[in-house]
Symmetry: C2
Subunit: 694 residues, 2 copies
């Protein structure tokens, strides 16, 4: 029959197979169908293979086509189609590609995260200082200036990283390279936490930009934030191309509109066409004194502005050549723009006498509303702010899965973080990020100010690791220019390290403790995972010499049987095809009915031995395992095979009516060494065979 098929001009396709009626059951031939099957290796030749699901490349290599994974019908096909609609057609691994970006597009792609933080960082400084009333607010500008200085130091330090790592200086890789495993895991954990908070904070701030313009949406803010994260996950599972064009519009719109707002504010204040509000004087009641601690807290809140500064250093290979030089220029431009926006907003808010309102209208919205009035320009500023914040969250959706990929590749995270989904996205990382970020947003009620204390610390731990790595690198390698570069990175390390400590101390109670607990916990988890994978690999490893597989001899095959019926006999027939030593085992509740069953077994002329295991306590697995233990004692080297007949019913609800004991038995056998479980599925007929009768 196989030969006949080979002679046919048109090889079998799925459609043809679908037409041919399948017998019920496993499809084992019934005793009637006796047309001779010769044992042998007739099936090995795949010369003429040409289904539409596989294509022959050369001997021993087949290649699956897109059709191989398309379900042929039923619910699966509906789900498949829904996924294609939502995520787009599947992509082959070869379709993976990267765009090389000119500076203006690179700025948009890599800087949206950093730039967007100017939308909330000034406000967070002032919210802390407000606790000391009007006196506190006077420290706003000096604190902002300090943050700008810090930004300059960090950005300058990162230019060193770009120079040394033209292939991309991601914090995890740089730290691993120079400081070793544990510091790199600390950096990676801090980074992962940072990315999660980037999503939570940016989305919350983006929602705040919307609710500032449309206050009636305030009560839905948690839902809006969750919805944004959901959309971002879908977009990233589709595989957002990091196309500069998509990113350019909101990024430049934000920069331009905020700059214009600041300039117009200056002009209007100078010309006296607007009056400063008196809010700052009236609204704030001092509950604290101006202490160094308060100012330090305000400063560490403002440090949220620096998050994302490292992105350009990570992404050097995406720049057009000369990549390193272009990246450094882009980083400098970004730092200048960010510094200007951040400092400008803080100054102008002060000049306009505006104060932040916790949970209310954002500061940037207040500034824009004051300057532009409530016209379309105001709404444009708000929309641009919202969009760049969403883009910032999107950056984390790209980076978080990538860091997890590196960790998984190095066996510090479960290997499936390496798996690329239908659209080449690292779906596991995307899913985990979305789930944790949603949990955070819900727990903190999409409140930026509540989330900020968790944010800066993780980012600055990562900065510190990265800078310290560069120090170590210059010191050990002494490459050309190390004399000037070393001090720069030493300053960078000390500064970022101090900020990390300052953030830990000043924000400890408001949430930094969570991060301080989480980082070591994640490091311990990653080490445990690595330990496990390493131990397994060592255990499984083979030498290079030739291996001779053992001849295992005839298997002892047990077939647990609860009733003598077609399903049981198909399992026995299968068992007999793999061994001559087959025993049917009936675990019996009742000796009489068991013996009646054995009589029937003999009456049917079945050859396999029929063993009765009486189970006075009605358990099925216990007596069977005890019997397997006994067999095992006879020869511990020979595996024992248990063949389980399993039903595959037509409808989902029918699962509740079958297989309960098989499932339990299989679970217990799984944990028993030396025991192989064979599932012989019995597919119940697709057509009902008779009407029920009572």
């Amino acid at each position: 029959m196989a030969d006949q098929q080979r002679a046919e001009p048109d090889p079998p396709s799925d459609d043809r197979r679908a037409e041919r009626p399948r017998p019920a059951g496993t499809g084992l031939r019934s005793p009637q169908a006796e047309h001779g099957v010769q044992p042998g290796t007739r099936y090995v030749r795949i010369q003429r293979l040409q289904t539409d699901k596989l294509r022959r490349i050369r001997k021993g290599i087949l290649r699956a086509t897109e059709r191989a994974d398309e379900p042929e019908g039923g619910l699966e096909r509906v789900i498949y189609r829904a996924k294609r609609f939502l995520f787009g057609r599947r992509l082959t691994t070869e379709e993976s590609h990267h765009e090389l970006l000119p500076k203006r597009k690179a700025l948009a792609v890599f800087a949206s995260d950093a730039l967007s933080s100017s939308a909330y960082a000034p406000e967070e400084i002032l919210l802390v200082l407000m606790a000391a009333g009007a006196a506190g607010l006077t420290y706003g500008v000096p604190v902002a200036a300090a943050v700008v200085v810090l930004l300059a130091i960090v950005a300058f330090s990162y230019t060193q990283t770009i120079r040394s790592y033209p292939a991309g200086g991601g914090t995890y890789i740089v730290t691993k390279d120079n400081l070793g495993t544990v510091p790199s895991l600390v950096a990676a954990s801090a980074l992962l936490i940072g990315y999660i908070l980037t999503v939570a904070v940016s989305v919350a701030a983006g929602v705040a930009a919307i609710t500032s313009a449309l206050p009636w949406l305030v009560e839905y803010k948690v839902w809006l934030a969750v919805g944004c994260i959901g959309l971002l996950s879908v977009a990233n599972l589709r595989g957002v191309s990091e196309s500069g064009t998509i990113f350019s519009v909101p990024t430049y719109a934000f920069v331009a509109s905020v700059l214009a707002t600041l300039v117009l504010a200056g002009i209007r204040l100078a010309t006296g066409t607007i009056e400063p509000s008196l809010a700052a004087e009236h609204a704030t009641q001092a509950t604290e004194l101006v202490t160094p601690f308060l100012i330090a807290r305000a400063f560490t809140s403002g440090c949220a502005a620096l998050t994302g500064t490292e992105a350009i250093a990570d992404g050097v290979p995406a720049f057009k050549p000369p990549a390193a030089r272009n990246a450094i220029i882009t980083l400098s431009i970004m730092a200048v723009i960010l510094g200007t926006l951040f400092f400008g907003i803080t100054v102008m808010a002060g000049q306009l006498g505006l104060v932040p309102i916790h949970g209310g209208e954002t500061l940037i919205s207040q500034v824009a509303r004051t300057v532009w009035g409530e016209g379309w320009v105001y709404y444009f500023v708000q929309a641009a702010t919202m969009l760049i914040l969403i883009l910032a969250a999107n950056t984390a959706f790209v980076d978080f899965p990538r860091v997890n990929y590196f960790l998984a590749r190095d066996h510090f995270m479960p290997h499936y973080f390496q798996f690329r989904g239908d659209r080449l996205a690292y779906s596991t990382g995307i899913g985990v990020l979305a789930a944790v970020a949603i949990a955070l947003v819900v727990a903190f009620q999409a409140d930026v100010t509540a989330l900020i204390p968790l944010y800066a610390i993780g980012v600055f731990i990562a900065f510190t690791c990265s800078q310290a790595s560069m120090v170590s690198r210059w010191w050990t390698r002494r490459e050309p220019g190390w004399h000037t570069s070393l001090p720069i990175n030493i300053v960078g390390t000390i500064t970022t390290g101090s900020v990390a400590i300052m953030a830990a101390v000043t924000k400890f109670e408001q949430g930094a403790w969570i991060v301080l607990l989480l980082v070591p916990a994640l490091v311990a988890m990653m080490l445990a995972i690595h330990h496990h994978y390493a131990a397994v690999e060592a255990e499984l490893a083979l030498g290079d010499e030739a291996v001779e597989l053992p001849e295992l001899g005839e298997q002892v095959v047990l077939v647990p049987i609860s009733n003598i019926n077609r399903a049981a006999l198909e399992a026995v027939a299968y068992a007999q095809s793999i061994s001559k030593n087959v025993r049917a085992v009936h675990v019996a509740d009742n000796r009489e009915s068991a013996q009646a069953m054995r009589d029937r077994w003999q009456q049917l002329g079945l050859k396999a031995e029929f063993l009765i295991l009486e189970s006075p306590y009605r358990s099925i697995s216990g007596p069977l395992l005890a019997y397997i233990d006994f067999l095992d004692d006879e020869d511990p080297d020979l595996p024992i095979t248990v063949v389980l007949p399993e039903f595959v019913p037509r409808h989902w609800w029918e699962y509740l009516l079958h297989n309960q004991s098989a499932l339990r038995l299989r679970t217990r056998l799984y944990f028993r060494p030396n025991t192989v479980v064979v599932s012989v599925p019995y597919h119940l007929n697709r057509e009902p065979t008779r009407q029920p009768s009572a």
Copy 2:
């Protein structure tokens, strides 16, 4: 080696096996361990079997001991011990026994359900009538009298059932016997709903008895009710003996204390030592008029008093001989006591001028407090009330699983409702009852009055089915005495049927609609289950002639391999032990690394063919299934065997690091006809083999 063991005086026990170190992996012999294993049937003889887990009964029959199910260590053993502590030692099927009860004990066992309803039924009548104010309350005594007349009719009708079914006249069995399948399923569904409500109502009323005495517990009433149901489940999973003694104390204490309360109330009212309260005149404001509909609603609420009346007829075989006569006497006594308590409480509440308070102190508590003052006698009455109500709920815990057992035996419910747990209790039924009753109690906030509208209707549907069955039986069989019995049961049928309809109409909006929807839904479900089981049985059935199992020839065995390591090779070794036609299949993401793997395969000198399936879309199951489809087309009759190496790690969390693709693959293969899945477990070493390194 096996022979050596046989020669030993002391056969292998578990302790010895536990000492012997097991090799890691499946326990397949490593290639080094080459000591000759001869294929054959050396393992069949079990002559000298004597482990402490199995005992040889005779040739081909082994009997498991209690030790067979005892886990040898780890978490499983802790759980096992906790279960033994909670539920007691396991019982063998032979230990099942039934006590024969004298009338006084039988009354306690079977009547607690019916008698306990006097604790809430009078109150529920008055709560309905109160809507019409003082004018309404005057109808309390007439309505109660009507309920007592109904009770007399139903009890008298059931004496006929007892006479005809000395082996036990359970409603389901009687209806099936006389009216056929669908009516019996209607009766069974109504019964099951009734039992669930017996638990919910009785427990809620029991908790109300506690909170009446200890009002500070009111806010915990839902928790108390849930706790009671939990305790009842544990007690019934332990297998409460239906020992008359345990039941006698609370039942007789309740009857005696309530009777004493009523008598003393009469005396004190007659002698003028207590004054009637004026609550009835003051408290009630009429919101409705006294209409026939209102009176009918009050009457159907009072009919809750009749629930449980059928219990004695179900339990005839538990009576001491002459069983039928004793059962009839007991039923009559029960009816008289119940009628007296129920009517007495209604009358005395009126005489004392007491009115029920929805959600507040129960009526019985008010009566007792008025009559006895707040001394120990009052608390005794409350405690006895609470206990008899818990006993009533317990009755449902015995009956609900038993009806489910009958239904499962007749293939109308999933077969595992027949399974008897470690203590011979029908654990599935107990679990389902507890879960649904807890859900009800929580949903209805343990409020008796809210639950009552659902209660009577189910019970009266069952009564009607049972009575109609008796009518049919007398008419078709015309046994001696049918002339007098037929009219009795006709009256019973008409009366109970009318009450069922009246309850459906008057309580429709308050909840009866749920029952009216649920009964047909349950009947449909039971028919569908039966249809399925019947179809499967027909499909699987064998004739009586001898069966010749097919010789299946050499299997095509595929071993999906992701890496060449010990686990993979053990799977291949196993595959080669069951077939000569083994192919290792590597689903590859990357052609280069796949070819490197094939080179290594050949370098290791492995004989099985190594096939590369390129998967450009990175799916593992799709290409593999496409290849299986192709093989299947070559010979549709021969099953294809897929051997999956599976890891069994040491710790639970390690499961997250392995087997993800194997699990997915196994699920997809399960649904494919003609495909057998073999799991070769690789047990990871119990000792770590090396420290992690980066």
